[in-house]
Symmetry: C2
Subunit: 473 residues, 2 copies
């Protein structure tokens, strides 16, 4: 009897295999020994961090669909070939393109004051020269949604909703809804533009850009984010009386621009048609050099794969490193990959994406079949000395691999400490100096370890519980 | 015998009055009691902090000579009248005016990258559209001075000299020399522009503006400061090969623009012609709202004077609050004051300026006659419970009162903890939220205390040692 329903499986398992079925699976002395060597090498990584430094220095910002993103693909292909990876290639696709040309916001009354602001990705243009109107403040997107159109019509809406700092980025979901919804809701009520308090957690004069929801951008008006101190300035001024603001956003758009995923492999041996996928995204927002978001993730997976490639013998399965394109503007790289490789999904043994900076990995989530949980325990036990705590089996993967679990691919999330991640995320301040080499290298060690185990053991992470009901025969 | 030479006075004093002559002067129970009340009120200040909040919110940036600085004068006159001060007035003067119109810096090769930069005050313009040239890096101003013209000619000079963080701002002198000298030295050697690593101590993508030395600005070429992460990016790129940069600086200048000092008083009683001057500067750089530099200083002295004005009876001497204009661009307000009030210098009993943010006051320097050191001891002893340590007698006052000691006016420096001051100084990030209300209020308490003592005691801080040589008659 095979039980395929998770809830039922858990219930039966609790009865039939109170603990034994959940014990760690034996790894074997040789694999364990090699994994521990990889961990030590990961903690001394140089190739991964150099990848980040070179990418953020030599290319810099890499807006999706831009010439800079194309340069980054060329650069990455050359770099990955030089590192000795196999089958280095670009899988191209087209995306709708948006970039800022002008994004200026200023207070015009009661006094002239520049505002630190940035257009949101996908923002509509204002009339040339900008639009000036009275500012109306709401403390949340919900308050804007609840407001009558008469309160908003002809005005510039300002949503002053704060984002909370947390280790796992819990506040970002709400912030994304505000960022995505502001322009659409405001436009529907007759507003001429929408400004948000940046979706971020720092108090410098540093605005955070970011994409609007697809259905938020379409048909919506101009939208920009202002820095936290500017948001506070708006609030203080509005306490004193009417405030007028000018918003001038001019953009460049195109229905179709080239993007692509860069792929490199460590070819496996006897199970080389089976794929362990580790990934990141190569594109970045345009304000910083995309160091934490997400050159770091690329450096982590490249650094980890390189350590495995340098082992005396190749792993049994193929390790596929994917540097996704155009993540920031709508997960285009992830979707393209899932489509292009639809026939190959069964061969995908495991997938992971690093896209949350370079903070210490403190927990390890899995998204395995129930029968594969002993493998999770084994991996978590190997990672424990790195300060990694076991976590639940509810990993959804990362953004670009978020469509893979639905296609049956097991995923893991090595959960990073993201306490400071949204201090830099999507700002001009996302630069190489913000990466802590020590925590970065801990990430390389973690990725090298679980990737090697997944590639070398031959384990099936899809495995469901295979229950032999007791006392019924 | 009156000994007027400091060194000699000290030597004789050590012989004739080993300790007794340096004892604190008695303050009197009533003055001491009132001073302690003022300290407690200072620690609960509301008027001073509100002054800062209102100025930075309602007016915002206040560039010297600009319409915004004029608005700030009008605003301050109204505010000081409303607070009940006497003789509120503006003493006007004219200054040469400079403001930025465009200041854009970008890397053009090996890849296109925007640079977080700001023109230095007084910078010359580039040709319209900017100038593009190869970047040449020096690690110090001294290295640039030592370099042959052939190394620099036709290029854009970059001085990558770091500024050290310290409690007393010790690193700023060197930084000012770099900021002031870069364009002049570079231009003399044929460079087309000069860029400096910002004179600041933070690592955000936040450039620090600031004036060039008078003799640095004159005849020199375009000059800008880049943020620390951009300076690091330059250095990393230059390690890899040639780097081209474009600098585009356009400015607005005028030979003469209106500025002025705003003055308000608490009129004294029996010694009302004697003046205790406490001051700050009202102008700011244009990037932030000049909160720490120097709305905070104005709030501190206004808050302190207001507490004394609200006492049941006025102090014996007049307290004069001076909000200097155009400090940032060459101490124009301070010089104008010293000229306008040249005949009145003898009536100036004591002067102080708060212009180093709002950090905790941790030491109290004096610039007194040797015979007045017992008064210093008394004041320092009253301030001790506020965490203030006695310091030496080498106070030079603050920037706008730096000419007063030479004119015979005793000064004090309540030394603030400036450890973080240069994280914000002259950047867009100098905004109201950066002020810690608790340390700000400690400043108000300190200013209220020493100002009241100076106004109420009738002490002469010019007093020299009046030595009766022993054993010679």
């Amino acid at each position: 009897m095979r039980i395929r329903t998770l809830a039922l499986a858990t219930a039966v398992s609790a009865l039939a295999f109170p603990t034994a079925a959940q014990d760690a699976a034996p790894l074997g002395a040789e694999i364990e020994s090699t994994t521990k060597v990889l961990i030590q090498q990961g903690l001394r990584d140089t190739a991964g961090l150099k990848f980040v430094e070179d990418l953020t220095t030599e290319i810099g910002p890499r807006l999706a669909g831009s010439p800079q993103e194309a340069l980054a693909r060329d650069w990455a292909v050359a770099e990955l070939n030089e590192l000795g990876f196999a089958n280095v290639r670009v899988e191209g696709f087209e995306i709708p393109y948006w970039s800022r040309v002008i994004d200026e916001v200023s207070i015009t009354s009661p006094s002239m004051q520049a505002v630190a602001a940035t257009a949101l990705g996908g923002s509509a243009e204002t009339p040339e020269g900008g639009v000036e109107a009275e500012l109306v403040r709401f403390t949340s997107l919900a308050a804007l949604i609840a407001a009558p159109a008469s309160q908003v019509s002809g005005k510039i809406v300002f949503i002053d909703e704060h984002m909370i700092k947390s280790m796992n980025g819990a506040g970002y979901g709400m912030a994304v809804r505000k960022r995505g919804g502001c322009a659409k809701v405001a436009t529907a009520k007759g507003a001429v533009a929408c400004l948000i308090r940046s979706a971020g957690t720092q108090s410098h004069r540093m605005p955070h850009t970011g994409g609007m929801l697809r259905d938020g951008a379409e048909g919506a008006g101009p939208a920009a984010a202002v820095s936290a101190p500017d948001a506070d300035q708006f609030a203080r001024l509005l306490e004193r009386g009417p405030v007028k603001v000018r918003v001038n956003i001019q953009t460049e758009i195109s229905d179709s621009a080239p993007s692509g995923n860069v792929i490199a492999e460590v070819t496996g041996s006897d199970l080389k048609d089976e794929i362990v996928l580790i990934s990141c995204h190569l594109d970045s927002w345009d304000l910083g050099t995309g160091a934490l978001d997400d050159a770091a993730g690329c450096g982590i997976v490249v650094g980890a794969a390189k350590l495995i490639a340098d082992l005396p013998k190749p792993p049994r399965r193929t390790i596929r490193v994917v540097l996704y394109g155009s993540e920031e503007v709508g997960l285009f790289g992830g979707k393209s990959y899932a489509e292009t490789h639809a026939e190959e999904m069964d061969a995908h043994i495991l997938a992971a994406e690093s896209d949350f900076g370079a903070g210490n990995i403190w927990r390890f989530q899995t998204g395995f079949g129930e029968g594969a949980l002993p493998y999770a325990k084994t991996i978590q036990s190997i990672l424990a000395p790195l300060g990694v705590t076991p976590d639940n089996n509810e990993s959804g993967g990362g953004p670009d691999i978020s469509m893979l679990p639905g296609l049956g691919v097991p995923v893991v999330t090595p959960g990073q400490n993201g306490m400071d991640y949204f201090d830099y995320h999507h700002t001009p301040d996302d630069t190489f100096d913000k990466i802590d080499p020590e925590t970065f290298r801990q990430n390389v060690a973690v990725y090298a370890a679980f990737t090697y185990i997944a590639a070398e053991t031959g384990w099936d992470f899809r495995k469901e519980l295979d229950v032999e009901p007791t006392g019924t025969e």
